[in-house]
């Protein structure tokens, strides 16, 4: 079959233009008359390629490499200075999204006008008009003037016209980021449909992930020259290594490991194989209603050795500088993320996104693990494999095959207590496994005083074998794990995670304690837990607070039907504690609760709840608090002080944490407990699970 696009030795030269045209002076009429040559620059130089019908071609390259010029030439908006272009078939391009729309005309009138500009007759538009309206989701607004539309509606109707003009060749230029997420999904599906119908698609994007999934072949442009026409993976690989703005590009090699920092995106290679996927490792900040991606920043490499570098990226719109320190050391890749601001800045949230190829199909963190589902063409959204958890210390990915890199180990050292992490499948177009580490407080405010703020330190280890990952996990977790019948309790930095026959019962903070000192709550998860010693039927762990002179000692032992925890406090200097509680956060699948004094069902947690809300109303001391749920074991939570009964309360967390809470409190009879130096028993907790009550 004949190619639909033939580009033969095309050169496009523009006359250098310095603002205005003048009669005298450079490039002016006077020089023209006298025959002087004006300055020119080559937007494209001697580019030749063909595109076959039904092919999807990606064009990548840095800014100013001639991508847009090439697209304009194919669209026929301009002609080459030298060489020939042959385009067979009608071209529709998303270059022209909404070009020719008049705000005062109705949607209907604009559809006809815009389609007319794109070369369609009224009759042809009649035939697809209903589809256009349907696709845009504009509905009855179609007969309203376009200036009453929201910007989203405007873009939607504009895209719909372009998408339904039934082109043979479809040119797409970086515009898939328009409209809301729902609409973007529809756009991608429509592009997929067009490709299925055998239409030719030419696609220009910075988003290598999308290029990777959409395109069969890729053309790589650099300074107007075509460097490469290759299969997508090879071209992207080459692009990452060779191209990119020099000052923000840095390659480090250490043995079989290689890391490329390219203007706000990091790619890691091990034995010449890319461990990350095309989208790499990225960072983004949500600020004033927009995501600002690290790739939008202005990067420069400030410090560089063979195996390490410091990259600084200025996000001018936010007023922060991203400071990334990357080191290759002992077979590990280290990534320290910090941000620096000269003036106080409040951002809404931030995310670290790490993308990995789909051949990694098993995720792990701490001692939980699971399989990723396959990503299907219908997946137009990110699909969470796990719900956001407090940031783990270790995580791993296992590949489904014994490739060169069979497993990736991740270690994190978190400087921000509210950071949470979750594993995701991306949408089909991007086609990756993603680890997302985010901090997004309910009130949407993360304030940074002027200075440098470390966000997270991370290490990535591609050298592990499957066995190592599996064994390491077994050893580490077994030390901190107690099994009592089907109940498995695993201690992890100030919290205890409970599973019953493999079913996870607790969530978010799991079992933890908190104490109120000087009107500030100190959670056990923020203590530094580092000592462990085995005791009869269990182990003892100690955690020291960074701010108050208290060390908590938890003795975890297994009992016949559950877990027993004795909590002691080591006091270094005399201190007043206003309140103390132990709590267990349960999965929202628990629906019923009961205390010694009352019982009821948990209300659903509504999306607007920013605070924890009390469910029970009575605070008299009692034996226990019990939670039940369909197909979940009954969980009995009982806090005592020696033989004294304590009040138990029932709460719902806020929407974001989405958990049920059983809590045992020690309330002082007077205003506070005053503790002298020495060791004090503080609470005894029993947690039991059973199916008996069902």
């Amino acid at each position: 079959m004949d190619p639909v696009i033939e580009i033969d030795q095309v050169t496009k030269t523009y006359r250098a233009r310095t603002g205005t045209r003048v009669l005298l002076g450079k490039g002016g009429l006077a020089e023209k008359i006298s025959g002087k040559k004006h300055d020119t620059f080559h937007a494209l130089e001697n580019v030749s390629f063909t595109v076959d019908p039904g092919e999807s071609l990606g064009i990548i390259g840095a800014n100013g490499s001639g991508k847009s010029t090439l697209l304009k030439l194919i669209a026929g908006v301009t002609v080459p200075s030298q060489g020939t272009i042959n385009v067979r078939g009608r071209v529709a391009s998303l270059l022209e999204l909404g070009a020719g729309f008049h705000p005062m005309l109705t949607g209907r009138e604009n559809v006809y006008l815009n389609a007319g500009i794109l070369g369609m007759r009224h009759k042809q538009v009649d035939a697809v008009f209903d589809e256009i309206v349907e696709f845009s989701g504009i509905g009855r607004f179609i007969d309203q003037p376009v200036d009453t539309y929201s910007s989203g509606m405007y873009v939607r109707i504009a895209f719909s016209v372009a998408a339904y003009t039934n082109p043979d060749i479809f040119l797409i230029d970086e515009v898939l980021s328009v409209g809301d997420e729902e609409f973007q999904r529809r756009c991608r599906r429509r592009i997929g449909e067009l490709m299925d119908q055998g239409k030719t698609v030419v696609f220009v994007s910075h988003d290598l992930g999308i290029v990777n999934t959409l395109c069969e072949r890729v053309i790589l442009l650099s300074q107007g020259k075509m460097l490469l026409r290759e299969t997508t993976s090879k071209a992207i690989d080459f692009y990452l290594r060779q191209i990119g703005e020099e000052k923000g590009l840095c390659t480090m090699v250490h043995g079989p490991m290689e890391a490329i920092v390219c203007n706000g995106r990091i790619s890691i290679f091990y034995n010449e194989e890319e461990v990350t996927s095309a989208s790499g490792l990225q960072f983004q900040v949500f600020y004033m209603g927009h995501w600002q991606n690290s790739q939008d920043a202005d990067w420069s490499i400030t410090d560089k050795t063979e195996t390490s570098c410091t990259a600084e990226g200025i996000l001018a719109k936010v007023g922060i500088t991203l400071v990334w320190k990357i080191t290759l050391e002992n077979g590990k890749f280290h990534w320290d993320l910090a941000l620096r601001n000269e003036q106080s800045v409040s951002i809404n949230k931030y995310e670290i996104n790490m993308f990995f190829p789909t051949r990694f199909n098993q995720w792990m963190y701490d001692d939980t693990n699971g399989m990723f589902q396959d990503i299907l063409p219908d997946d137009t959204n990110y699909l969470a494999a796990t719900s956001p958890e407090l940031l783990f210390e270790t995580a791993s990915l296992l590949a489904n095959d014994e490739g060169l890199c069979a497993a990736i180990g991740l270690e994190t050292e978190n400087q921000r207590p509210m950071c949470r992490a979750s594993w995701h499948n991306t949408d089909f177009m991007t086609g990756c496994r993603a680890l997302r580490i985010e901090e997004s407080p309910m009130d949407g405010v993360i304030a940074f005083e002027p200075g440098t703020h470390t966000l997270i330190n991370m290490a990535l280890d591609p050298t592990l074998s499957r066995e190592e990952v599996q064994n390491k996990l077994g050893i580490d977790s077994s030390r901190y794990t107690i099994e009592s019948g089907p109940l498995r309790s695993r201690f992890d930095r100030g919290k205890i995670r409970l599973t019953h026959d493999g079913v996870q019962l607790t969530s978010m903070l799991h079992f933890y304690t908190s104490m109120l000192v000087n009107n500030v709550w100190y959670d056990s998860i923020n203590f530094r837990w580092d000592q462990i010693e085995p005791i009869d039927r269990g182990f003892r762990v100690a955690g020291t607070s960074r701010r108050i002179p208290i060390t908590q000692i938890w003795e975890l032992t297994s009992t016949d039907n559950g877990l027993h925890i004795d909590i002691f406090l080591d006091i270094d200097e005399k201190i007043d504690i206003q309140e103390y509680h132990s709590s267990i956060l349960l999965s929202p699948d628990y629906t019923q609760w009961k205390t010694d004094h009352e019982s009821g069902s948990f209300p659903t947690i509504d999306t607007s709840s920013n605070d924890w809300s009390h469910v029970s109303t009575k605070y008299e001391p009692g034996q226990s608090a019990i939670a039940t749920g369909p197909s979940l074991p009954t969980l009995t939570f009982s806090g005592k002080f020696q033989d004294e009964m304590l009040p138990h309360t029932i709460l719902n967390t806020n929407f974001q944490q989405a958990s049920r809470v059983l809590q045992a409190l020690r309330l002082p009879t007077h205003s506070m407990f005053t503790l002298d130096t020495g060791r004090h028993l503080y609470m005894n907790v029993d947690i039991m699970t059973s199916y008996e009550n069902d």
Binding site: G76, G89, A99, I117
Partner: protein, 289 residues
């Protein structure tokens, strides 16, 4: 491929001009309609303004020139009555208005539609032609008004010579289209052209017999012995065209060949040069806009 649409190589081919325009006729019509709709969409009286606006202008200008300035015109029998004066002025005014608005808006049309041209590939001629089309709609409305005014003020219908009117109009249309294409394209490269056109139109308003008659020019010039200037005066093709309109409508005369020779020649010249120049530069318009 059978549905091969329109590739960039075509834009420079003269022989494809006519097929391109036939293919784009709906678009051309839509663009004209768009402008008219947009103009009156939010006005309560809507399209009525398209009639009222030129009507008011006609009333005011006629009043100023015939009553305030007491301009004297040669009527059918001796001095023109005030009604005859109004019709004579109106004839010149409407013809000039078409020429001036069409040329001014065509000249700036490509730069005004920069966003469209730099993004979409379509026959570029559509843009200046649509502006001529818009002026044409106003011209049609003005002509109808003139006809009504004519009947009311003179108490009779125009004579049989009116069948010559389309011919004169055709000359004017060809002239304005040719100049419009030429200037719009030149203006894309040198924005000076737009200012020069506007300045020339201001001059042209006085160098065209609108509120005077050519006989006045002839008398005044020969009184001073500058007869040669009278020939130069007719280098303005609109002088011949407006005079021809008046002869047909008012004096029931068929215009002479001497009067029309230059307007016809200049119209053909303008269209030829305009089309060739436009076609030559159309493919690279997006580069210079």
């Amino acid at each position: 491929m059978s549905n091969s649409f329109y590739t960039n190589a075509h834009q420079s081919q003269l022989r494809r001009l006519i097929p391109d325009l036939i293919r784009s006729r709906e678009l051309l019509r839509d663009l004209v309609w768009k402008d008219i709709r947009v103009r009156y969409r939010y006005a309560v009286m809507g399209f009525l303004w398209a009639v009222l606006e030129p009507l008011f202008m006609m009333i005011v200008l006629t009043f100023v020139f015939s009553v305030v300035f007491q301009l004297r015109f040669q009527g059918i029998n001796g001095d023109a009555s005030s009604g005859e004066t109004a019709v004579i002025i109106l004839t010149g005014l409407i013809a000039w208005q078409f020429f001036a608005t069409a040329l001014a808006s065509a000249t700036s049309s490509l730069t005004d539609n920069r966003a469209l041209i730099t993004k979409v590939n379509f026959p570029r001629e559509v843009i200046p032609l649509s502006t001529v089309g818009i002026a044409l709609v106003n011209f049609a409305i003005g002509s109808c008004l003139l006809l009504i005014v004519y009947t009311l003020l003179l108490g009779k219908l125009p004579g049989a010579t009116i069948i010559w009117l389309p011919a004169i109009f055709a000359i004017q249309f060809v002239l304005v289209t040719g100049l419009g294409m030429l200037f719009s394209c030149m203006n894309a490269a040198f924005r000076d052209v737009g200012y020069m056109v506007n300045a020339s139109l201001l001059f042209g308003f006085y160098a065209t017999p609108i509120f005077y008659q050519t006989t006045l020019v002839q008398t005044e010039l020969s009184n001073r012995g500058w007869d040669i200037l009278y020939t130069l005066y007719f280098l303005n093709p609109m002088a011949g065209i407006v005079t021809a309109y008046r002869e047909i409508l008012f004096y029931n005369q068929v215009p002479s060949w001497q009067l029309l020779a230059w307007p016809i020649l200049s119209a053909i010249l303008a269209l030829t040069v305009g089309t060739i120049y436009f076609r030559k530069h159309a493919p690279t318009l997006s580069d210079i806009l």
